[in-house]
Amino acid sequence: MSLGFPAAIAHLPESRQRALLAVGSFLLPILVWCMISYLPFLWHPKVMVEEPGGVGYFQAGMLIDHADFAEQARQMREQGLALPSGIPANPIYLPAPHLVAKAFYTGFTTPPQGRDGVWLHESLWHSIQIIFWGFVISSLFGVPLGILGGTYTVLGRLQEPFIEFFRYLPAPAFGALAVAVLGIYDGPKIAIIVIGTFFQQVLVIANTTRKLEITLIEAARTLGTRGARLITKVVLPGILPDLYRDQRILLGWAWTYLIVAELIGTSSGITWYITQQARYQHFENVYAAIIIIGIIGFGSDLLLARLGRRLFPWDRTQERK
C-alpha cells in the first residue's frame, strides 16, 4: 500500500477497505457499461429502425449510422414519403447489461436442442475436464522436470535451451498434428493444453527452484542431508508455496489455451457455444459465456489462494497478494 486511502474510507479497518476496493474494481467497469448502454446521449452511434417509412432498404430492427439515417429521412421529407423512425442504439457488439444478464440466465435454463444437444452446464463441465486433465498431465512431467532442472545445473542446462525454443512454437499450430495422432475427441484438445502449459511450466518452476535460498540447502547438508533427501526434505518444502503460486498462474494460462484447444476435433465445450453464437452475431450470449469463464477462472483462483493460506501458514507472501 504505497499511498494509503482516501479519507472517505480511511477510518475503516484495512481488511474492510480492501474488500470495498475489490467490489469497486468490478462495479466501476459495470457502471461505465451501464452508462454507455442506458444513457442515450452517451455514444449510441447507431439508430435502430422502428418504422422503415418510405426507405426501401430499411427494416425494423436494422442498425443504421446516424448520418445515413438523417440523410434518408431528409430524402423522404423532400419526396414527401413516410418518414422513418428509430431510436439511438449501440453497435451489435455492445449489448446492454440486462441483455447479457438475461442471456446468462437463459443460457443455463434453455434445455438442449435436439437429441445430441447438451446443456450449457454440461458444455462447461466438459471444458473444465479438458483443462483439468491437460493441466494434470502437464504438471505430472513439468513439475518434476522443473524442480530437477532448477536443482541440478547440468540437467537444467541440458533441457532448457530446447524448451526455450519449443515454448515459442504456438500450441495451436499443433492442432492438426494432434488430431492425426490422438483422434478427434478430447485427446487432441488436452494435448494442446499440455503443449501450451508444459514448456512454460518447466521453465517457471526451474526458475522458482533456483530462487530457493542456497543457505537452506547448505544448512541441511551440514546437518547430514544428502542426495535425493535434499530434494524431498529441503528443496520441495522450501519452494512449495512458490510452486503453488506458480501453478495457480499456470492454471490461468491453461485456461487461455482452452478456446484454441476446443476448436480442434469435434466441436464441444464452451468454445463451441461461443464460436457458434458469435457466428450468428448473438453477442449477448458471447459476453455471457466469456463472463462465465471469467467467473470460473477467477473463482477457482480465489479458492486456491485461500487454500494456499491454510496450506502454508509459514509463508507470509501468500497473505497479501
Binding site: R115, F174, A180, G183, L263, I264, Q277, R279
Partner: protein, 333 residues
Amino acid sequence: MTKSKTSSAMKRWLARALLPIAAAACSFAAQAAQPLKIGYSDWPGWVAWQVAIEKDWFKAAGVDVKFEWFDYSASMDAFAAGKIDAVTMTNGDALVTGSGGAKSVMLMLTDYSNGNDMIVAKPGIKSLAELKGKKVALEQGLVEHLLLLNGLKKAGLKESDVKLVNVKTNETPQTLTAADISAIGAWQPVSGEAMKAVPGSKPIYTSADEPGLIYDVLAANPASVKARRDEWIKVLKVWDKVVAYINDPKTQPDAVKIMAGKSGVSPAEYLPLLKGTKLLSLEEGKKVYVKGSGFDSLYGSTKTVNEFNVAAGVYKKAENVDAYLDPSFTNAK
C-alpha cells in the same frame, strides 16, 4: 465454400506436411466393424443430416452411422488425418484436401449454394461491370474469389480489371465500410452482416446467378468406399428422406426447428439461410452427376475449380478430377 472461417497458412502447411503420414498409418481394415464416421459442420446443406439423426432414420435403414460435429476446417483436418470415414465439404475443398494426400470420392451431392455466396457492392453500384478499376475485398483462393472471376467473365471483364484486396471473409463487413473499397465477397451470414454494416449496399452477383458454381458433397475415404459400398448406398437412401422432409411444407417447420437447434439460432433466423441453399435430392443429384463441361455438371464444376485452384496457387499441380468422381453411388438402385 469455406463455410467457416479461419484457415491460417501455418495450419494448412502443417496439415499438408504431416497429415498424409499419419493418415497412411491408419488402416481402414481394422475399422470395418465400427460405425461409419461422418464429419459435418454448420452449413444448411449439411446440418440437414441432423433431421435423419434425430429421427433415427439410419437405424431404420439398417446402417450404423456416427455423425461427428466439427468446425468446418477442423472437419477436413480430421478427414485428412484419417480419423473419420467421410466428411461434408465443397467439391473444391475436396480437391484441396486431396492435394495434401487425403484423396476422397464424392459419393453424392448435398446441395449447391443458391444465393448464400455473394459479391456485395456499395450503394450506387448496380452491376459487376461498374466495378472496373475499383477495389474489391475478399479472401483470395476461396469460393468468393471464384464467384467474382466467374461473374467478371460473364460481364466481359478480366481479373486484372479490378483491384483485389485480400481480407479474411469474417472481416469483410468492416472492410466494406472503408472509403476506397467498392465491394466485398462473402457468404451468409457474413454477407448479411456486411449489408447491415453499409446501409444501402446490395448483392450485385450471387451464387444464385450461377447455380452449381460450387457444389457441396459428401466425400468419403476411397478405402472405405471400396470396403463398405453397401453401407454407403444405404446412407444415401436416407438422404432422399431428409430432402423430402425439409422440402415438404407440412414438415418443413419441424425440420427447420431441428436444424436451427443444431446451429444454436432461432428457426426464424435460420429459414433465410436454408432458402439460400438448394438441397439436391438423389434424383436431382443424378442430373448433376453427369459428364459435362458447364456448371450444371459436377464434372464441369470440379474441373473449373481445379483450374482455379492451380491458377490461384492453392496447389501447384492439377488434381486428377476423375479419381474424385464416382456417380455409381448416386445412381445405385
